[in-house]
Each structure stands twice: as structure tokens, then as C-alpha cells.
Amino acid sequence: MTILVIAEHDNQQLNVATLNSVCAAEELKQAGAGDLHVLIAGSDCAAVSAQAATVAGVDKVLVMDSPALAQQLAENLAPAVVALIKGAGYSHIVAASTTSAKNVLPRIAALLDVAQVSDIIEVCSADTFVRPVYAGNALAKVQSSDAVKVVSVRTTAFEAVAAEGNQAEVETLEQAADQGVSRFISEEKSHSERPELASARVIISGGRGMQSGDNFPLLEKVADKIGAAVGASRAAVDAGFVSNDYQVGQTGKIVAPELYIAVGISGAIQHLAGMKDSKVIVAINKDDEAPIFNVADYGLVADLFEALPELEQQV
């Protein structure tokens, strides 16, 4: 019984989400699963494997370094990981629920002919997990009967383990083949000086009440004063105010910051699913009846176009 954690990274930097998935893997270890290996699959990713080797709890780092894995295309990555799993006999495959893991993990599970348990929030035992369903309005406890358990981890439900202090062994694996059926063309990253939504301590999000993307600077000014990330509701994304990577909700990003400020957001079920585990929630909305107030610790019924500049002044 050995656990394989598939690391999230960009070939240079180990993504912090990996620290959350290692935490879930550690719990599996305590539940009886064996050693904890971390796989770095990428291209020119030596720096990442060095970072992974210092992460607490990791017993071994495996490196699959080849040009075919530069963008982790599922068609190239999945067969390589499956060959590794079959060869080494892993009992658990774990990855954070990021878009790259969501893309490749089910492909790996199907090639192994096993089910995947998506987005777990709790490890009950080596084969039993809790996961939210129906936009977090119900929690299902599920038990897997498969020989290999493939699990994706909701990062907000697990603490990040220490990134430093360990000195795990690093082993280089064989190169992965390019299957020649898919290719990367380009990438458009939203550049921002602000913290990432997934790891921000404070998030300020705007909804349909913002009326236009042109009004988002009102939020951004507050965000910059308090070091917050900026998010949006699905309604604001659908209306074209901001791009989809701002979206907090069931179908966007799931966040749980210390402080979440919802501005002009009514509080649809699918938005609440993405933020209701935040420690402190603030709602600013002119509609006294908005459902967002039912989950807010502090509610302010006000016109956001007056409240936001005031907030910027006072923080």
C-alpha cells in the first residue's frame, strides 16, 4: 500500500495546492496506507522536484521530466502515470482539485478501470471519504471497493503541510512518450499583482449589482488596500463583467478565506457553494431580502456605489 500524490506545478514552482493534497495523503497514511510518494510530471521541472523533496511527510519524490509533459496534456500524461501505477502497485492516487488534475485524473482512473472519488473534504478511513454533492447542500459518505482509490481533494478542507524541513529521496523515472494526438498552442494567463483566489486570506467579490465590468475598479481599489484577491459571481461572469477565472461558486473556484466580502451578490445556491466555508462573511447589498444575508456574519444594506468608496477610505 503506497500513496501517490500527483503534484500541481508550472514546471518552476510547486503550487501550494499540493501541500493540501499531501495533508489528505498523510491522513490516508495514518489510516493505514503506506509510504507517500509525490510525482512531478513536467518538463525541465528539476526546481519543482527539489521543492517537493522538502515538503513534510513526503517519503519519495518521483520525477517524470520530458518535453511531452510540458503542458501536462492528458493524452500524454495519463498513460505514463498509469504505467507507473501498474508497475509500482500504488493503492491510492491523490491530487488537488485544480483544473489540471480535474482534466487528467478521471482519464487515469478509467484506464485503471476504477472509480474516482471527486473533491473529498474528509478522509474517514483508507477506503471511505466524505464529499459534497448538490452544490454542497448534502454531504455523501462513500466507500470505494476498487483496488486503487483515485481521489481528488478539495484544498480548502485540508490544511497545507509545511513546505520546508524534509529531505526526501528524489528518483528520476523514464521519459513519457508524446502520443502525437494533441498539441499545445498557447496560453493566456490573467496577470495580476493581487493574491490568487485559491490561497488569498481575504477575498472581495462582485456580482450582478456591479452593473458593469467598468465598475470593478471600485472593488479593486479596496482589494489593493487590504491585500485581497478579487472574485466574482457566476452572474457577473455570465454578464461579461469579468473573465471566468474570477468565478467563485459551484462551477468556478471553491474558496474559504478568513474574510469574504460579497458585494452586489444576491447569494444564489451555486455561489454559496463556493464560499460558505469562509471564516467571516460580509455582505453588502441594497436588497434587504437578498439570500446572501442568511449566511453573512455582517450584513450591510447599502448602495454599493456609495459603500465601496467609503470602505476604501476607512480600511
Binding site: 483544473t99 476504477v114 447542500n137 448534502a138 471497493s145 496560453e187 462551477t251
Partner: protein, 271 residues
């Protein structure tokens, strides 16, 4: 209307190329609880209570139908087939698919709660039979929220995959897919046949018109069984318990921004 524009636009030569279009698109859809319903758990904690709850086509699946129909309207696809696995009830959603422009429908009749891997196996058997150029489906259903079926189907059929698509374009022998990824967009090129899973911004689905709803009733809807397809749909996961999460309680109202800032600083200590 769309056909009319298309015909007017085409030269005789391109009309010929239109005749040669043989690409079929298979769209897999799911009947789910309506997105605005807040579900309750059954008192015995065995499952979510779905009795007398409004049901609908999973929103992401609606986007998949729309995209397939648009590819047909552009002359890139020749036929759009919608498929769903479930009880007779899911015929309602298949008829919606037909009303939105699909040509025919397939219902895989099963009472069982079919897991993503089993759905992928059923679809893989259909792919073998139907030989589609593209299989489209939603990136996830809003009930089970697994986000697995498309990727699993691609694995089982050795097809390429374009997940979380916000733009799809057929270019020669390739499918160009723009994907919504953490922190931005990624564009990839895929060999056909390919599986595409749809994200929100791919399109805005149309509403079915009354004449199209009437027409949909006469379109072919075939029922098959997992046995016909030779697929074992036995579950791999056992649901031990379904519970309600702890409800968050509403807090207090503050009168103005100053009070808010004071509370956040002094009381909550988060500013």
C-alpha cells in the same frame, strides 16, 4: 431561418462540400434537479430527497447541445444525436434536446444510479456503434458534481479530450479548443475524434420555440439497455450515508461602513 441564410451564403461549390459533411456529433446529457432547487436529505440519511422536485437538463449539458447544433448549422456537422442514461423520465430531457435542434435521441434505459465510469462505458459502446467525430457533454453535473465522465470516455475510446471548453473550432483535421484553466485560458489542438466537455462561456443556449417543441415529439427516440451494449453498470462506490452540512447562521446587520470596519477590526479581527 438559419438554413435559409446558409443556403443563400453558399456558392454551388461549397454546396458540394456540404454534401460531403458526414461528421456526427453525439451529445450526452443528464436529467438533474433544477439549479434553483435547494435539496433536502431524506430523514433516514440514505440519499437526497428528489420526490416532487423540479427537474431539468443539466445546465452544462444544455450548452453542449447548443454547441453541437451550432456546428450543424455552420455545416460542420451532419447529424446531432442526444443520448441520456436513466429511467423513462429522462425522455423528457431528450425531447428538450430534440426541441433545441438535435436530430434523434437515444435513451439507455436503467433504474440504477449509474456512476461516471459506467456512463463512460455505455457511451464508449455507443461511440463504437455510432462513430461520431465529436462527443460533447457538460463538464460536470450539478447533482453528483463528479466532473469525470468526459475524461473517462476519452480514456476508454482512446479519443483526445478538450475539457472545460470556452471555444471550439474545427480546423482541417483538427479540433481547436480553448479551455478555461486556473488563472486563464489554454488553447490546444486535438486530433479527431475528440471528446469536448463544455464550460459556461462556450455559448448561451437558445430557448426551444413552441413549433420546435411540437416537432421534437415526432423526432425518433430509440430505447436501448446496458445489456444491449454489453456493459456492466454495477457501482464501485457505496454511499454509506448522506447528511446535511452544518447550516451557517445569519449574523448581524451593521448600520454603515464605519460600523462594519469597526466590527471587522475589533470583533472579528480579520482586518
Amino acid at each position: 431561418m438559419n438554413n435559409f441564410i446558409l443556403l443563400e451564403f453558399l456558392s454551388p461549390q461549397s454546396e458540394n462540400s456540404l454534401d460531403e459533411v458526414v461528421m456526427k456529433i453525439l451529445v450526452a446529457i443528464k436529467r438533474v434537479v433544477d439549479a434553483n432547487v435547494k435539496v433536502r436529505v431524506k430523514p433516514d440519511n440514505s440519499a437526497v430527497d428528489l420526490s416532487n422536485v423540479k427537474m431539468a437538463v443539466n445546465p452544462f449539458c444544455e450548452i453542449a447541445i447548443e454547441e453541437a447544433v451550432r456546428l450543424k448549422e455552420k455545416g460542420i456537422a451532419s447529424e446531432v444525436v442526444v443520448v441520456s442514461a436513466g429511467t423513462k423520465d429522462c425522455q423528457e430531457q431528450l425531447r428538450t434536446g430534440l426541441a433545441l435542434g438535435a436530430d434523434r435521441a437515444l435513451q439507455i434505459e436503467t433504474d440504477a444510479e449509474v456512476e461516471p465510469l459506467a456512463i463512460a462505458k455505455l457511451l464508449a459502446a455507443l461511440v463504437e456503434k455510432e462513430q461520431p467525430g465529436i462527443v460533447m457533454m457538460g463538464k460536470q453535473s450539478i447533482d453528483g458534481e463528479n466532473n469525470q465522465t468526459g475524461q473517462m470516455l476519452a480514456a476508454l475510446t482512446n479519443m483526445t479530450q478538450g475539457t472545460f471548453a470556452s471555444e471550439v473550432e474545427v480546423s482541417g483535421e483538427e479540433l481547436l479548443v480553448t479551455r478555461e484553466v486556473d488563472g486563464g485560458l489554454q488553447k490546444i489542438a486535438l486530433n479527431l475524434p475528440a471528446v469536448v466537455t463544455t464550460d459556461l462561456r462556450l455559448n448561451e443556449p437558445r430557448y426551444a420555440s413552441l413549433p420546435n417543441i411540437m416537432k421534437a415529439k415526432r423526432k425518433p427516440l430509440e430505447t436501448i439497455t446496458p445489456e444491449d451494449l454489453g456493459v456492466d453498470v454495477a457501482p464501485r462506490l457505496k454511499t454509506l450515508e448522506v447528511t446535511m452540512p452544518e447550516e451557517r447562521q445569519a449574523g448581524i446587520r451593521v448600520a454603515n461602513v464605519s460600523e462594519l470596519v469597526e466590527k471587522l477590526t475589533a470583533e472579528a479581527g480579520v482586518l
